[in-house]
Amino acid sequence: MSNGAGPGDEAGGWRRLDARMLLVHPLETLIRFLPALLAIVIFRAGSDDNDRWELYAVPLIVAFGVLRWVTTRYRITEGQIELRRGLFTKQTTTARLDKVRTIDLTARVHHRLLGLAKVEISTACGGHDRLVLDSLSVDDGRRLRAELLHRVDPAVTGLPAPTGAPTAVEDVPDDAPPPVDEEVLVRLDPTWIRYAPLTVTGLASAAAIVGFASQGFSRFSEERSVFRDGATWVSRLQWWVDVLLLLGVVSLLAVGAYVLTFWGFRLTRNRLGTLHTRRGLLTSRETSIDAARVRGLRLDEPLGLRLAGARRLKVVTSGLLREQGGSDWLCPPAPAGVVTPLALRIRPDEAAVSGPLLQHGPAAQRRRTSRALVPAILVAAALVSARFLWDWHGSVLVLVPVLLVAAVALGRDRYRALGHSVTPDHLVSRHGSLDRQRVVLDRDGIIGWKVEQSFFQRRAGVATLVATTAAGAQHYDILDVPVAQAYAVLSQVSPDLLAEFA
């Protein structure tokens, strides 16, 4: 497949990055070395040296950026995308177009000011074959994305090619309707921000901000009495006021992180089924996921969200990288009344998305309970012995019953979560209490099975059935399922496979 005229085209169809990246690159280098620069400035403040020798670095950085711009080229040719980089060590990365899974457009604040976006192309093989174009203009990026995901010649953008062999464009009837129509599946409702403090992600980002800030404060606290006075004031308050204060601060920070990440979240689907998310307040991020690569859905219901009647939705797809946090989100924490219908629109299988599940029986229940209780009993025993051997304060004993009750509750809740079901198109598995998740996996996407049994599982007559897949977490487990049920699932989903060894 060849591509015709486009801005920046050169001989052989090679295209360059956008020239405005020349501005972005020095800026990013500057930001990266900001701590070092600050250190230099602070150091200089104490000396008489007036030689601004760090300025010599500026032309070097600019030259480096120019070099990168000159040496980086990409083109789409013969069913491949090719990226060529480097002056001394020339590096060429190619990826077959039909292996392209997802495309991310990321624009940080300075990118957005200049109308640029960084394009990341993920292919089947994960990290090794990832192509990064930093940066293209937003329009070029979107055009490239359309070319890659729809595999059409820009001249006939109206004709979608079925995924698979890129030569299959002829299969499309001439009277195919135009593709422009995108349906909006979900749009962020600002009231959902109330769920931000209820997730671990939100709390973790809040904790990160607190840690970062406290480091900064501790450097000044010696000179600035404000901080010292503040600390004294806080320590004089009642303990529950302190707790409330902490909760308030953490919630605010979590809300801030939520707004930064998910502001303007929008999930759309075009006529070809490509899922497309867009989000972010300062750094905007667009992710496109080829429908043919989607292998299922994951409904997350962590404890906090579950109590508030909320959940979130992720996609199970091949080609998304784990370190790209959040690319797989199809819906931020939102009311169940929004998320469940959304999941149904992407996978219209009511039994799989919200139907009842088969429970795993008394052996599984005993295992959940004992696995929750044993650590709790150990900790309780440690507390009791600490009380009597090392004279710890008597109040630690209050923790013992709390701990045991919590463990029993956790075990019960974990058992209630445990379940699986097989529908005509999907395998469903649910587990977890604090981090409950329900995975709806396409039966087509399962590329192998494992039946795992530990020593104790064999005695209890249960097994962990693992469906392996090329997508998402690579494997999805059905925990502590009775052996007969495990083989029943196998025989339903892969009857021909089982027949080989029955």
Binding site: G355, Q359, W449, T469, L490, S491
Partner: protein
């Protein structure tokens, strides 16, 4: 949320649906009358020499522990040598049991079978697992021979699928058997075209 087992209308009936009520009190150890597991054991055992291989591997682990013990003996300045004898005896007994029992146990568990359509293995000892991969999804077939395996004329065959979680490995195969298996698997995998994801 109590859930009720409800096989879908288009589904074949499950042999044994789970008990319906969560939290019902247990009436003794009710080991359900399981129907014969639908999956039989894989047909072939691995080579008997695999027992020797696993024993040697266990002895290597013991040798590392022994080296640690010797270093401790030389470095320690305390007058009493009792802790040394206790620790040494503990791992020696445990290690001896491990070196004797583990290889036998492994050998009894390890089995494999390959058909033109799928590969099926059973492995492990304390933790056991069965793996099945359809050959249509196979991406690579590897034959590996570690130093011990080379001495004993053994080889391991690893079959990788597009899933990072699903490599199927058969340890302790006779080298000719392993070569034959690799050829058969490669032929079967080549016959199958497609994306394998």
């Amino acid at each position: 949320m109590p859930v009720v087992p409800e096989p879908g209308p288009r589904e074949p009936a499950l042999p044994e649906p789970g008990p319906r009520e969560p939290g019902l009190p247990e009436s003794g150890l009710r080991e359900p009358a399981l129907p014969e597991p639908a999956l039989r054991e894989p047909a072939h055992r691995v080579s008997r020499r695999a027992i020797v291989m696993w024993t040697i591997q266990a002895l290597v682990v013991l040798a590392v522990l022994l080296a640690g013990q010797v270093v401790w003996w030389l470095v320690d300045d305390a007058p009493s040598r009792t802790p040394h004898w206790i620790v040494g005896a503990a791992w020696l007994v445990g290690g001896a049991v491990y070196a004797v029992a583990m290889p036998q146990w492994r050998y009894r568990v390890h089995r494999w079978e390959a058909t033109p359509r799928a590969i099926y293995t059973q492995s492990g000892w304390l933790w056991q697992e069965r793996r099945i991969a359809p050959l249509g999804r196979v991406q690579t077939v590897d034959l590996e021979r570690g130093p011990v395996a080379q001495l004993l004329g053994l080889a391991a065959v690893t079959v990788t699928t597009a899933s990072a979680a699903g490599p199927v490995t058969i340890h302790g195969l006779d080298l000719p058997v392993a070569r034959e298996l690799v050829d058969a698997l490669t032929a079967a995998a080549v016959a199958e075209t497609g994306d394998a994801t």
